[in-house]
């Protein structure tokens, strides 16, 4: 399985792995001096760099950079492991950017671009994974440079993924599918059936939360797969024990755009059913904290440690997105469940510190889609019709959210034609 290698090889590997540290000696500067140089920014010529595109396929990463400044291609080449083709001139209006396409063996190496940019600050540092459509190359994941890292560079305008018909050709040279270039991304949706295996979750009179969650999840997956442009994955497809952080890792490793964790609620006693949806955030509510503790049961995270993390996360973009997603799902779900059982209460969307939502790179929610504390509802849950209905309610919520956030895509096959007809 593993090759047996020698010390020399190990040293070489360490060295190679650290190639990204190439050539900074001349430009050594402290954080303080960087700050001061920003202050008299009139002397500094910031570069404009647009667009940056990074795409990855298998073990190969293609980075396409459009540099709006004069730059020695030689220097750029030196820093790269495997340059596919060097500078190529093309014209877009008044300016004449140089386009570099470079190949890397893995993503981290793409950060090699950093030292060659003239402001001496690493630029390509964080990558935000997105997905490419399966046009010619099946599920080739792509990556955009995260805008966040540019924040502290004044006068640094990054038009992220603004691809125009003019520069398309240059970019297409890198073999990146057209749809991606114009922002028609496939969305990767990860569905996470709560609990499983040794962990049954909530236990009703005759059903387990883990089984309902798995069944509804599968139905939801099948429904979402009927759409164009969604890649749908499940954290578990059988009744197996799975740690919460493994679920998170799975979603992150697959560059999920959305994460939906499906659960069934329980409160002691025969009660009215209620629906609620959670996104990650701090809570003062002791009941919610209790529920979180229950759902976090199988985690490897210490609760105390995360209280701190929760506060730090604050009102980030991700949590805003998650909140919107939670809202769309909760609204649809409750509306429909209320039709089935007039007694179903709407407990709304809530912030809660669920471990499973914490480590996600993507917006994520935890939906308590039904309630085992109501006898009638428990009976209904035993029928496949009801579980299918719940899946369809979730589907609507998710699609509503996705359509709000992407102009294109997310049309169900067949519906698209209908729509086209209607517009004629």
């Amino acid at each position: 399985m593993f090759k047996q290698a020698n010390k020399r090889q190990i040293l070489k590997d360490v060295h190679d792995e650290n190639l990204w540290l190439v050539g900074k000696r001349k430009s050594r500067r402290s954080v303080a001096s960087l700050k001061s140089s920003k202050d008299n920014s009139s002397q500094r010529k910031w570069v404009q760099l647009s667009p940056i595109f990074v795409a990855m396929g298998g073990a190969f990463v293609a980075v396409v950079v459009t540099l709006w400044f004069e730059f020695s291609a030689q220097k750029l080449n030196d820093s790269m492991i495997d340059v596919q083709h060097s500078a190529q001139d093309y014209s877009t209006g008044a300016q004449s950017p140089l386009v570099y396409t470079a190949g890397f063996n893995d993503l981290n190496d793409a950060a090699l671009l950093a030292p060659v940019l003239p402001h001496e600050r690493p630029v390509i540092e964080n990558f935000k994974p997105v997905s490419l459509p399966n046009a010619s190359s099946p599920s080739l994941p792509g990556l955009f440079v995260d805008e966040g890292v540019f924040e502290d560079l004044e006068a640094f305008e990054l038009r992220q993924a603004t691809v125009t018909p003019e520069n398309y050709h240059a970019l297409a040279g890198a073999g990146i599918p057209l749809a991606q270039l114009f922002g028609l991304n496939v969305k990767t949706i990860v569905i996470d059936p709560g609990h499983g295996g040794k962990d049954p979750g909530a236990v009703g009179a005759s059903v387990y939360e883990k089984d309902i969650a798995l069944d509804v999840a599968k139905r939801l997956r099948d429904r979402l797969l009927e759409y164009e442009g969604y890649r749908v994955l499940m954290t578990r497809e059988v009744d197996e024990t799975m740690a919460l952080n493994d679920r998170v890792n799975f979603a992150n490793a697959n560059s999920a755009d959305l994460f939906i964790s499906i659960h069934v609620n329980y409160f002691p006693g025969d009660q009215k059913s209620f629906i609620e949806t959670y996104y990650f955030g701090p809570t003062d509510d002791s009941k919610i904290a209790e529920l979180a503790a229950r759902e976090n049961n199988n985690s490897h995270y210490p609760y105390a440690e995360f209280k701190e993390i929760i506060l730090k996360i604050g009102d980030t973009l991700k949590s805003q997105e998650s909140k919107q997603l939670a809202y769309a799902v909760q609204r649809n779900l409750h509306k429909q469940m209320h039709k089935i059982d007039k007694g179903t209460r709407d407990h709304g969307i809530k912030a809660a510190p669920f471990v499973v939502l914490l480590g996600l790179d993507a917006p994520g929610i935890l939906a308590e889609v039904s309630c085992l504390c109501n006898r009638d509802e428990e009976q209904r849950l035993k029928t496949s019709e009801h579980r299918e209905s719940i899946a369809s309610f979730l589907e609507k919520g998710i699609v509503t959210y996705l359509n709000k956030n992407t102009r294109v895509g997310g049309k169900r096959n067949g519906e698209k034609e209908k729509l086209a007809k209607a517009q004629q």
């Binding site: 650290n18 540290l21 000696r25 210490p302 105390a304």
Partner: protein, 346 residues
Amino acid sequence: MAKKKSSPKRSSKLRVGIDLGTSRSAISASNGKRKFVESYVGWPKDFISEKVLGKSVLFGQEALDNRLSLELCRPLEHGVIKEGTSRDEEAVNQLISHLIELAEIQEGQEIYSVVGVPAESLRANKLAIKRAVEDYVDSLMVVSEPFAAAYGRGVLNNAIVIDIGAGTVDFCIMHGSMPTDDDQRTLVTAGDYIDEHLYAMLKEKYPESDFNLNMVRKFKEEHSYIGKTKGKIEVEIPVGGKIMVHDITEEMGRACESILPAVLEHTMELIARFDPEYQGLVRQNIILAGGGSQIKGLDKAIEASLKEDGLCKVSVVDDPIFASADGALALAKDMPDDYWQNMLDE
């Protein structure tokens, strides 16, 4: 400060190994110096505090002792540098400068460094680490802490290193080549987690007693154990101003044990990644590093739990504070000269 200037004559080369840890950072240099500092950096909150303290930046225990007049930062708290917050980056930068100073490196010496960082940080923070270190060294390579520890011990093949630190437990398997991402795992249930857990249990048992997390950590560092312990563990804690003896035997055992299941789970999973032919060897070669490896009985507890599947041997590094820094230094020393030259841009 030890900030490097463009010095006229480069007389000699110095190799250094640095372990940038969540709770402690250490340096081990080829001039024989070995130093460590708690990974805390504090800046005086205001001009008055600065006057009182007489310093513009404080480190380690000294920073902790003066925490009230400081803006205190523990930059690698969760095993990664929180980027974007320049405070954290600045703190790492200062920490490195402090370590270099502690190692009494002479002006004009060319410094080739290998820096060990938590595995997670290696994944997430390469460039931040580079920015923090590059001001003080001439050449730099970054590796994961457990790998550095393994290299230092000379175990390059068929082994698992488990580095139990404050913020993270880092696993690393050695199979004769440089470990990749896939060969490493990180858990966040580590030393700090034990502290929190113990603290919570003791608060419940002794609600009237007056103690804090720091005291609990000290109790742990003195009395930690898993399995059986001889006699009672008793500590002194004030209650309403009076010092009283408290029995914390059971709580100590339970808190220390709490990290065990996850450690076992990952260890077994990692053993299974080896070719079956070598798994027996790997089981004989499980190495505990980091401060948490000092928990009494931890090695035996792991052995006992794993022996169902066959014999195994767990050993503990001799000097957990310096294991990674020494390993990083060993790497730096073994690294051929031309590898370093490659990194200079002339």
